[in-house]
């Protein structure tokens, strides 16, 4: 190939677009996704606060929150194990990173099961989307909507984590991909820390 051809080829290559905030595109996309999810959760929380304040005799049905406390402990611990996986991945210790990711996924599964148990307990007391034994029907709709949206994130996130872990072990994903997933997992853990006081602790029976 002649020098003239090489030069022409170099000039015809499309220009590289600068990366926003000097951040990898995938990471920026994950941040944008998180920001859009913040808006969705914020809308749910605002709607819940509006309903709660505007409705006379809002129910306060929670006598014991042991199950919720255990769920919170699991969620916080899984945030830590996810970070351990990230640190191991950065150190190129694949086996250790995979192990920590599996611990995190186990936390996600356990959290999901306890969440379903919590819902079953509410259903046993007669709480559905449209009625409950304590008063306003809006309580059930608000409770299941907010906690259900959070549960969906954690359940789907757990499945995604298992896929990421398997692909990482197989060599298709790198530590950068674990870093991306870590952002998502920390975010859903943070959302739970908002849901606990708003939905549960403010409605403890007195």
């Amino acid at each position: 190939m002649s020098e003239a051809h090489l030069t022409m080829g170099a000039h015809s290559a499309p220009p590289m677009e600068a990366r926003p905030f000097a951040m990898p595109s995938k990471k920026f996309a994950m941040w944008l996704f998180i920001m859009s999810d913040v808006m969705t959760f914020a809308a749910c929380v605002a709607a819940y606060a509006f309903l709660r304040n505007a409705t006379p005799n809002w129910p306060r049905p929670f006598h014991s929150l042991t199950n919720v406390a255990v769920m919170t402990l699991i969620m916080l611990t899984s945030s830590l194990t996810m970070l351990m996986a990230l640190e191991a991945a950065k150190a190129a210790d694949k086996a250790k990173a995979f192990r920590w990711m599996m611990f995190t996924a186990a936390g996600g599964v356990l959290f999901t099961l306890l969440h379903i148990r919590d819902w079953m307990g509410m259903m046993d007391q007669g709480v559905t989307l449209f009625k409950n034994p304590w008063g306003t029907a809006a309580f059930g709709a608000a409770f299941y909507s907010i906690t259900g949206f959070s549960l969906m994130h954690i359940f789907v996130g757990t499945i995604a984590l298992i896929v990421v872990a398997i692909r990482y072990q197989g060599g298709r994903y790198t530590a950068d991909d674990i870093d991306l997933f870590n952002l998502f997992w920390q975010f859903i853990g943070l959302v739970w820390l908002f849901i606990v006081p708003l939905v549960y602790l403010m409605n403890v029976a007195r």
């Binding site: 926003p20 905030f21 000097a22 951040m23 941040w31 920001m35 913040v38 808006m39 914020a42 809308a43 929380v45 605002a46 709607a47 606060a49 509006f50 709660r52 304040n53 505007a54 006379p56 929150l65 406390a69 919170t72 402990l73 916080l76 611990t77 945030s79 830590l80 970070l83 351990m84 640190e87 191991a88 950065k90 150190a91 530590a175 950068d176 870093d179 870590n182 952002l183 920390q186 975010f187 853990g189 943070l190 820390l193 908002f194 606990v196 006081p197 708003l198 549960y200 602790l201 403010m202 403890v204 007195r206």
Partner: protein
């Protein structure tokens, strides 16, 4: 991507313990607390949780200052928009407590 280190792990564990303590306090306040300041106390705890998680667990502090500003301004916009609804909800709460019905 940075390099892994024992320092990072120690930092994560310290933040994890701090989050556990804050959450325990929240449960204590939830069981014992009463009154109009309850929501404000929970909001304060949640904001502290958010700062800790964002800065350390999501490493927002290590990103470019431009991105941090972009993110923070966006969050403030969302919260300000929420505040519009909050304000109206507290207006309705006042009506309920005082028995006032607007005509």
């Amino acid at each position: 991507m940075g390099t892994a280190g024992a320092g990072s792990v120690k930092k994560y564990v310290a933040v994890y313990i701090a989050l556990l303590v804050i959450t325990a306090l929240e449960f204590l306040v939830g069981y014992k607390g009463e009154g109009s300041g309850l929501a404000l106390r929970f909001l304060t705890f949640a904001i502290i949780d958010t700062i800790l998680v964002m800065l350390f667990f999501m490493s927002l502090g290590t990103e470019k200052p431009g991105f941090i500003k972009f993110f923070v301004y966006f969050m403030l916009f969302v919260l300000a928009t929420m505040n519009y609804v909050w304000t109206d909800s507290f207006r309705l709460l006042l009506f309920r407590l005082t028995g006032y019905m607007p005509t």
